[in-house]
């Protein structure tokens, strides 16, 4: 894992001291809320529906055991005993007191964490593949590149007041587990025909009220030009992105209006200019970073099969693991989606347990997934039964990764001041219904994603089944969408038709899954069947 150097630590410590003074000035009445609001948002402190909310950055979703323990301690000491893992691999606390905020940031700084750039029109936390450095199918570990970009984008003076927020994802595999092409910039670390490693840049994707899939802007950027090309992409956006209308200010609008080809041309022009300026950090810096992400000391000669005498274990191991690059190891997913639970929520006790298990079974490391689960990336296959038993004892062994129970849901109207409708109760009812009818595993991979408003934090555009909560004359109403994907087969979901009330949307989900079961051909996922037969049969089933 990356470890702060003296500059990182000094910057974070200085920010804590600065914010402590700012918060005190607000409490003393020396700053108005209008004056203080941008300052607290720069430190991830929002004012939400019920209280202040603090969003803490988890760079590329990677956490050490000590960091996870610290997050648990914050939940206990300053919040109400739990936290919420988000769709950008971060964690949020819902019940923060302003008078505690600086102390929390100080506690975070002790474990090399912060909440900087988790709000505002700046480059946000950089996300990545939650199986990075572990997955059998990756080319290289994308995290050193994500870390290089994190350092470049942290406190970058030119990009602190962009037209809108800016999100970057970095992966390095053909399989996209980070919704890469639904980011402002998606980077895939690839190998070219000459065998050199470089970066493919996709620019102008995103969800929100105007969902778009990022087009490929450049097939290959050499590694010694990665920062320079990123800077060129941002510069063109910063110069020409709209500032007159916040709903048209994201880079996706600029790329769409210019056209990908013209945007790419302007980036190339700026890139050529910047190459002359020599802004690229020396490759030695990347080489300095890489050892922090070196493979842990994997043992050789390990068994590649676990004791499979327990059928419940087999179900869990089949669903919740991912093939590892090292023989005898696997990546184990801890589901934060118990049937009827709140997606992404974890109690302090659960966080402590996950930290302890990471230390015991996974080289002291865990990951936050954008699907609001937790990964132990490097687990010996032979240890899986023991790990599973400990998870099961704590209610953390739901065997439902990528099933209809593994629902992404934003906090919705239960917590969020932007929301129009509640997301969590809908997710709870869906998971309860399908679990009760024993249909979860019969349906296979089925990604269901729910947002409580058009901002799409719940990724409804990318759901095989998506649900969007809207305000219909003061009551909650839910639109149903079908056919989205955030993966390498990326697509945007389409609305089926008129919306439903809360019980109606749960029925509607059952209706479309019933049709899928009736229509599917061998090996087809829900998404495959939808793509083959189209929207019409689903509309007919829903609306008659």
């Amino acid at each position: 894992m990356y470890q702060y150097d003296k500059y990182d630590q000094a910057m974070v410590d200085a920010r804590v001291a600065e914010f402590r003074e700012q918060a005190q000035r607000r409490l003393d009445g020396k700053l108005t809320e209008d004056q203080f609001k941008p300052l607290r948002l720069m430190n991830g402190l929002y004012l939400q529906l019920h209280a202040y909310m603090l969003r803490v950055a988890v760079p590329y979703g990677t956490l050490s055991s000590a960091q996870m323990h610290a997050l648990a301690d914050i939940a206990t000491k300053y919040d109400r005993g739990y936290g919420h893992f988000t769709t950008r691999q971060n964690i949020q606390y819902n019940w923060i007191k302003l008078e505690d905020a600086a102390d929390i940031l100080a506690d975070l700084a002790k474990v090399e964490m912060h909440a900087i750039q988790t709000s505002g029109n700046c480059i946000r936390n950089i996300s990545s593949d939650h199986f990075a450095g572990a997955s059998a199918d990756e080319l290289v570990d994308p995290r050193p590149y994500a870390e290089l970009l994190r350092q470049w984008s942290s406190f970058h003076p030119e990009f602190m007041y962009l037209p809108r927020k800016f999100k970057i994802a970095v992966i390095s595999s053909d399989t996209d587990r980070a919704a890469m092409r639904l980011h402002d910039i998606g980077i895939n670390i690839v190998k070219n025909d000459a065998g050199e490693i470089g970066a493919a840049f996709y620019v102008g994707g995103g969800m929100g009220r105007t969902p778009m899939i990022a087009p490929l802007i450049r097939e290959f950027v050499p590694l010694d030009q990665l920062v320079t090309y990123s800077e060129a992409c941002l510069r063109v956006y910063n110069r020409y992105g709209r500032r007159d209308n916040k709903y048209k200010a994201r880079i996706k609008i600029l790329v769409h209006e210019l056209g990908a080809e013209e945007y790419a041309r302007q980036v190339e022009e700026e890139f050529a200019h910047l190459l002359d300026q020599g802004i690229e950090p020396p490759l030695a810096e990347l080489e300095r970073i890489k050892p922090y992400f070196a493979d842990p000391a994997f043992e050789a000669g390990l068994p590649t099969q676990a004791d499979e005498s327990d059928p419940d274990f087999i179900t869990w191991a089949h669903n919740n693991t991912n093939p590892h690059k090292a023989p005898g190891y696997t990546s184990a997913v801890i589901s934060l989606k118990p049937v009827g639970g709140i997606p992404g929520d974890a109690t302090a006790e659960q966080m402590h347990l996950m930290a302890q298990l990471a230390k015991e079974y996974s080289f002291d490391e865990c990951r936050v997934m954008h699907t609001q689960n937790i990964v132990l990336p490097h687990v010996k296959i032979a240890d899986l039964p023991a790990l599973w038993r400990k998870l099961a004892d704590a209610g953390l062994a739901a065997p439902n990764l990528d099933t209809i129970e593994d629902i992404i849901a934003c906090p919705g109207l239960d917590y969020c001041s932007l929301a129009n409708a509640r997301s969590i109760p809908v997710s709870q009812q869906i998971s309860e219904r399908f679990a009760a009818r024993g249909r979860t595993h019969e349906l296979g991979q089925l990604k269901l994603k729910i947002s409580g408003c058009i901002n799409a934090c719940g990724h409804h555009h990318a759901g095989h089944i998506g649900i969007l909560g809207v305000d219909k004359k003061g009551t909650e109403n839910y639109q149903l969408l079908l056919g989205g994907s955030e993966a390498e087969d990326v697509s945007l979901a389409k609305i089926t038709g008129p919306g439903f009330d809360e019980p109606g949307i749960v029925d509607a989900v059952e209706t479309v899954t019933d049709l899928y079961i009736a229509e599917r051909q061998d090996g087809e996922r829900f998404l495959d069947t939808y793509r083959r037969i189209g929207m019409a049969p689903f509309k007919e089933a829903l609306y008659g």
Binding site: G29, K97, E99, I342, D414, R422, G474, E502
Partner: protein, 98 residues
């Protein structure tokens, strides 16, 4: 009726103007009529409340009921964590929000 709400500056918790002070309970909220702006400005300046705003509500036997669901959720707490709401022992409270 028009009632005033906001958040406590230090803790961020939701509060309602009861005519004298800021209460945690919407049941205590009073009709401020056309005084909303004046009260809000005075109270915010005194740092007794943060970002106050006026909302429409209807008077019921149980007290004021905010017109919009968002404010009804604010008045209760998260409907999915009744243990964290102001009515942890009232199983019907969440339904009344809807």
């Amino acid at each position: 009726m028009i009632i005033l709400t906001g958040n406590d500056l230090k803790t961020g918790v939701v509060v309602w103007w009861d005519g004298q002070n800021w209460s945690l309970h919407v049941e205590n909220a009073v009709d401020v009529g056309d005084e909303a702006d004046a009260i809000a400005a005075r109270e915010e300046a005194a740092r007794r409340v943060n970002v106050p705003y006026a909302i429409e509500a209807t008077q019921t036997d149980d007290g004021p009921r905010p017109a919009h669901i968002k404010d009804r959720v604010r008045a209760l707490g998260p409907t999915v964590r009744m243990d964290l709401t102001l009515k942890p022992n009232d199983p019907g409270a969440a339904e009344q929000v809807i």
